[in-house]
Amino acid sequence: MFSTRLFCLTVFLVTTFLIGCSSGDPEKEPVILGKIELSDGWARPAAQGQSSAVYMSISNGTASRDSISNIASPIAANAGIHETYKGENGIIGMRPAPGQVIPSGEDLYFKPNGLHIMLMKLKEDLAVGDSIDVDITFNRVGTHSIRVPVKVQQ
């Protein structure tokens, strides 16, 4: 008697699990029209152990909004999105600004004095002429990578 009930319960659970996986939520649908593009990327020079900032434009050419869930680079121990902000009395600071959302058809700009991708604890020196890879993971479209040159701003 007990084993029959256990069997039913197992069938019920497995079925639920399978249905859950196959239907999923609409945000995880594999078919995505249009694409997300990363362009105009560049990074600041910095010494090993220090931080660099990466700038670029991201355009969301897909039919839905998307958001950034993770940033990584093989060259940095930590990476994330930061924003530079103005405080009182002309003070300037920067703070984490994770989870940036890009509506469908819009662009997100990382640029000096504003949003930047912060690479922390660099594993080696970044000098002008080098280039580095940055991996940006979006909630819907997954991970996109871009190779960016190291430049000094004019």
Partner: protein, 194 residues
């Protein structure tokens, strides 16, 4: 008019705010105080004494600041490159993070950012740097940069955003918002002060 005292206080408050905003801050003065610092070569320097005799463009940075400080450094370089004649002018960047900005770290920054010999990058004992900064009314406060708090050694700073012009006698004469001031504004004043 039961509320008259409150209205009066509000007006008085507004007036104070307005006057505080319209009066430019009094520019700080060294009053013969000197500070023992080190430059990026590791050589001892006496600030401002050793920098008298030339006109100085002074700013404040820390090298772990990859966004706004390089904008400030780019602005310093633009002031330098847009000056028709840089004779008698020197460029000084003082670190507000002396714990991490040792002379060798500053030397590397100078090289990576291609700053020439007209630039001096200064640091020193934290207490000495702090007292210089407070003399110059420069603020720098440590802040967290890692949203997940994975690493407490990784800090940033919120800080003043200032370029000063110091004349040949070591007097601070002008003050600008470092990351946004157009180089030509600084150059115009430099031509009058040098």
């Amino acid at each position: 008019m039961k509320n008259r005292p409150i209205v009066f206080m509000l007006l008085a408050g507004l007036f104070c705010l307005a006057t505080a905003c319209s009066n430019p801050d009094v520019i700080p003065n060294f009053e013969d105080t000197n500070f023992s610092l080190v430059n990026e070569d590791g050589s001892a320097v006496n600030f401002p004494e050793d920098f008298k005799g030339q006109t100085s463009v002074i700013t404040f940075i820390f090298t772990h600041c990859p966004d706004v400080c390089p904008v400030i450094t780019a602005n310093m370089k633009n002031i330098q490159s847009q000056l028709a004649d840089t004779t008698g002018i020197q460029f000084i960047e003082i670190s507000f993070d002396p714990e991490r900005d040792t002379p060798s770290v500053l030397a590397k920054y100078k090289k990576l950012y291609k700053l020439n010999e007209q630039f001096s990058l200064l640091t020193g004992q934290p207490a000495e740097v702090d007292s210089l900064l407070s003399k110059l009314e420069i603020t720098a406060i440590k802040t967290r940069v890692d949203s997940l708090h994975r690493d407490s050694s990784e800090y940033a700073m919120k800080h003043s955003n200032t370029i000063y012009i110091m004349d040949e006698e070591g007097r601070i004469r002008k003050e600008y918002p470092a990351n946004v001031v157009p180089p030509e504004n600084v150059i115009e004043d430099l031509q009058k002060i040098r």
